[in-house]
Symmetry: C2
Subunit: 73 residues, 2 copies
DNA sequence: ATTAAATGACACTTATAGTCCGTTGACTTA
DNA sequence: TAAGTCAACGGACTATAAGTGTCATTTAAT
């Protein structure tokens, strides 16, 4: 599975834990609503700056974002 | 400090631990040498796919890459 | 002091990241 | 009936990352 898909799944997982919509997350992270949809569905090769914005909005540390079974090799 | 700079510093740190040149790392990750220079110096907003290539080449897990004082908020 | 390896700086093209407008369909509540 | 929220998706567009070339500078060894 590609890193894009893994990142998307993890973002969706954490967003659902927060109980907020894609649009709410997008607004919080100050990125486009349609872009969040694409990222969650593994269609975007997101840059580190936008990934940081999303992870901040999801209120987790970078290291904890990547501390999930999906990312371990 | 921006995430770009932090990522660059961390890559340089891990590369030095491995004791390899920028060019050797670039070859391992199948990325251009000058691109690695730019990333290490915080001049590139790297994508998750290229970051994964570099982290793989540095032989660390994503979560361990971000488990450094620089990245903790 | 000269050579060679390693790194830095930066301009440039092309590929694609990311935005903005909208529509559609599934589901929910009134 | 609607009327609202939400996610998925498309098309057109703009901004910028990817990728490369070239020359300058540093560093270490001879």
């Amino acid at each position: 599975m590609s890193i894009k898909v893994k990142v998307g799944q993890r973002i969706r997982e954490l967003r659902n834990e927060l109980g907020i919509s894609q649009e709410a997350l997008a607004n919080k992270a100050e990125i486009d609503r349609t872009y969040v949809t694409d990222v969650e569905n593994g269609r975007r090769n997101i840059s580190i700056e936008n990934l940081e914005k999303l992870i901040d909005a999801l209120q987790v540390q970078l290291k904890d974002f990547f501390d999930a079974p999906n990312f371990i090799k």
